[in-house]
């Protein structure tokens, strides 16, 4: 069953987008929001089978009014968590270490970290890698507490939302603490899309540790991490990428069955092919 692609014509959102070639037209978050607006009463905006109740429904943070939901059933959360675990492993983290988060608990970057954080997730990314996990509330006012976490808990890595970098750096400075020599790397994400390279450079300067970017699109269950070597986003084998005519890239998440994510347009990007020395067989995206 796992390898049989879902019949997209059964899903109202895709049915309305089916092309002659039997594939749905690539879509964006705006398309999803538009579908939601015109189909009130369907929280999944036509991407879940009518009448089916998923075990896990996740409100997409990046969607405006009305918020759109995604749906997951086991083992999909586990498949998504594996993506996260492979991303962290690529950046380097060892069994027995701790990873810290400074973001909302509802972010997939946090949720998928531990089987504690979300129901019906067997093993989160930290469980898989043998890590401990701690999350600080993702609001700027809690930046001093994050600095305290670094001091007391000593995480080896920190994952945070891009807008919290500056308050976190200020809190570290105010408390006389530094990440250099304590934290090996930090990773930053926007709620949707990818932080700019320039912002990552600034973040690295402010925090004093390498800062990697995360490509995040919750509607497509997409998480991809920047490679420390080639600085492109290594695309986990769970996803398939295709180039679109206008210099854009569409992503399909192979594990998403309850709420298929097929041909999600992540915007301006380039498929750079394989060949990074770190993971020679991984597809790469440049954006």
């Amino acid at each position: 069953m796992a390898n049989v692609p879902p019949d997209l014509a059964q899903y109202p959102f895709y049915r309305a987008r089916m092309q002659n070639d039997g594939r749905p037209a690539p879509w964006t978050l705006t398309d999803l929001e538009e579908f939601a607006r015109t189909h009130p009463g369907d929280p999944f905006a036509g991407r879940a089978l009518p009448g089916v109740k998923p075990k896990v429904a996740l409100q997409i943070e990046a969607t405006a009014e009305p918020p759109v939901w995604t749906a997951l059933n086991p083992p999909e959360p586990d498949a998504w968590a594996k993506v996260l675990a492979r991303m962290w492993a690529r950046w380097g983290i060892a069994r027995g270490e701790t990873i810290g988060f400074f973001d909302y608990g509802s972010s997939p970057l946090v949720l998928l970290a531990s089987g504690c954080y979300v129901a019906y997730l067997g093993r989160g990314a930290s469980d898989r890698l043998g890590l401990s996990a701690i999350c600080n509330d993702g609001v700027a006012a809690m930046a001093p507490r994050m600095a305290g976490i670094v001091e007391a808990v000593k995480p080896a890595a920190v994952v945070l939302r891009a807008d919290l970098v500056a308050p976190f750096a200020s809190a570290l400075e105010a408390s006389g603490r530094v990440l250099t020599g304590r934290v090996r790397w930090a990773a930053m994400a926007e709620v949707e899309g990818v932080p700019t390279r320039a912002s990552a450079v600034r973040a690295a300067e402010a925090l004093g540790v390498p800062v990697y970017r995360i490509l995040r699109s919750d509607a497509a269950f997409l998480l991809a991490g920047e490679c420390p070597s080639c600085r492109m986003f290594h695309l986990d084998r769970s996803y398939r990428a295709e180039s679109l005519p206008a210099g854009e890239v569409a992503i399909t998440a192979g594990f998403a069955r309850s709420c298929p994510a097929v041909r999600y347009n992540i915007g301006a990007a380039r498929i750079a092919g394989r060949g990074c020395a770190i993971e020679p067989s991984e597809e790469r995206i440049e954006c």
Binding site: E65, P67, S106, S114, C116, V118, I134, D137, A152, V153
Partner: protein, 445 residues
């Protein structure tokens, strides 16, 4: 739909069928084992027990709790500072080679301590919380809305509850702040849960967000059979007020601490039953450490009765409470406790030491029309020995109601009272009045 009495009569498991005396004996056995293991395996307690001359081998009955040293958050923070680590020697089942952990954070402004969760902690605390939620009226059948942010220990509990009862879950984006209330409104309309738990001020934020969307409060809460509020003690009037606003038949209160204390209303709503499988609690006189009689106000001191993750033994988290050991008509064996407020929020006026809860309660008792009213207690007034309130002006007969309240409070507390009507107050002040300086109150508008 089950009626409240039917819910109360439906035990979660055999522990609910014990008599109070049997439960005491059960607690004694559990605590004896915990104290022995703590002395043997948890360095923090080994040292403190030894310093206090407490020998767990001599622990026989709950009366022997008096010999167990009390810990406060200051003690934990000091241990944390001394060791330079979140791990302070209260963590059970943790060490080199142990399975991955999650850590959550204590709440409050007095500093952050860390609560260690092991898989065993999650299983035991999760089951205990299932009992609490069952008592509060949770029944499967609709999704459970997960709104606890991951920094809080409840975030590790809610998913367990969903899985225990086989409930689907809906994860609301953002965090538990009023500005995300519109997301909760959307979630409630989309998921139509039968049961919901909410931080008390968030209820008002949700209602305000619904109003902005042109949706009535009772429409948002349609289908909710039981709503649990937490984070602040609710008065009977506030409970009625919430019922009226939401049309939810059962409004229950859950009280607790991140560090293990857990208590919840039964359907009688006459005090919160201790959830016995993970915690035991006492109310003591802080000066003398003497246990207080039922109804006497003192420090809530609680002990974990399970060994898993961070273990808190005779922990005084700064809550002021009253205990009630009289039998509850619902049949649950555990005593009832009401957390009335935080010690740092208590104030002395006239001859009395009061909590903001007392003011809220007195207001509704003196003038029932003011049930659920939001107000601020001003520091300036307290400094001058009078109770000065900024209170949202009632819509009907404001002058008469405020004068009745002023007279009633003055009579009750035997102090001068002044009430200034204001047009509005921030939603986060609804529930239990904060103590603020007047500029702070004005700035917050």
């Amino acid at each position: 739909m089950l009626k409240p009495d039917a819910i109360a009569a439906e035990p979660f498991d055999d522990l609910d069928r014990l008599s109070p005396a049997e439960l005491d004996r059960w607690w004694e056995r559990k605590l004896r084992a915990v104290f022995k293991a703590a002395a043997r395996e948890l360095p923090y307690y080994a040292q403190r027990f030894s310093s206090a001359g407490f020998d767990p081998a001599g622990f026989r009955t709950l009366a022997d709790l008096r010999g167990v040293p009390i810990s406060t958050k200051s003690d934990l923070l000091a241990a944390q500072a001394a060791g330079g680590s979140n791990a302070i020697g209260i963590e059970y089942g943790v060490g080199p080679g142990s399975a991955p952990l999650t850590l959550s954070l204590s709440s409050g402004t007095a500093g952050t301590t860390f609560i260690t969760h092991t898989a065993r902690w999650r299983r035991l605390q999760g089951r205990s919380s299932c009992r609490a939620h069952w008592w509060a009226g949770l029944r499967p059948g609709t999704p459970l809305l997960i709104s606890a942010p991951a920094w809080h220990s409840y975030a590790a509990i809610q998913p367990f509850i969903a899985m225990h009862f086989g409930m689907p879950c809906g994860i609301v984006s953002g965090t538990f702040l009023p500005r995300f209330a519109d997301r909760i409104v959307d979630a409630m309309v989309a998921m139509r849960p039968r049961f919901i738990s909410m931080f008390l001020p968030m209820v008002f934020s949700v209602l305000a967000a619904a109003k902005q969307k042109g949706v009535r409060g009772d429409e948002v809460f349609a289908g909710v059979e039981s709503m649990v509020v937490t984070g602040a003690p609710i008065t009977p009037g506030m409970r009625d007020h919430l019922r009226q606003l939401t049309r939810v038949k059962r409004v229950a209160e859950i009280a607790g601490t991140s560090e293990n204390l857990l208590a919840v209303d039964c359907a009688r709503a006459d005090g919160l039953h201790l959830v016995p499988d993970t915690c035991h609690a006492e109310v003591i006189d802080r000066e003398t450490a003497r246990p207080l009689a039922d109804g006497e106000r003192g420090a809530a001191v609680h002990s974990s009765v399970v060994l898993a993750g961070s273990v808190y033994l005779r922990y005084d988290g700064g809550d002021i409470a009253v205990m009630n050991h009289s039998p509850c008509p619902c049949g649950l064996p555990s005593p009832r406790i009401k957390l009335l407020g935080r010690r740092e929020d208590s104030f002395t006026i006239g001859a009395q030491s009061l909590l903001p809860y007392d003011v809220q309660l007195a207001l509704e008792q003196e003038v029932p029309e003011l049930n659920g009213s939001a107000c601020v207690i001003t520091r300036e007034g307290l400094a001058e020995g009078r109770l000065r309130l900024l209170l949202i002006e009632p819509e009907r007969s404001p002058a008469a109601l405020l004068e009745a309240a002023r007279l009633g409070l003055a009579r009750k507390f035997d102090v001068p009272v002044e009430i200034t009507p204001v047009r509005d107050l921030p939603l986060r002040f609804k529930g239990v009045p904060p103590i603020l300086s007047e500029p702070e109150a004005v700035e917050s508008l």
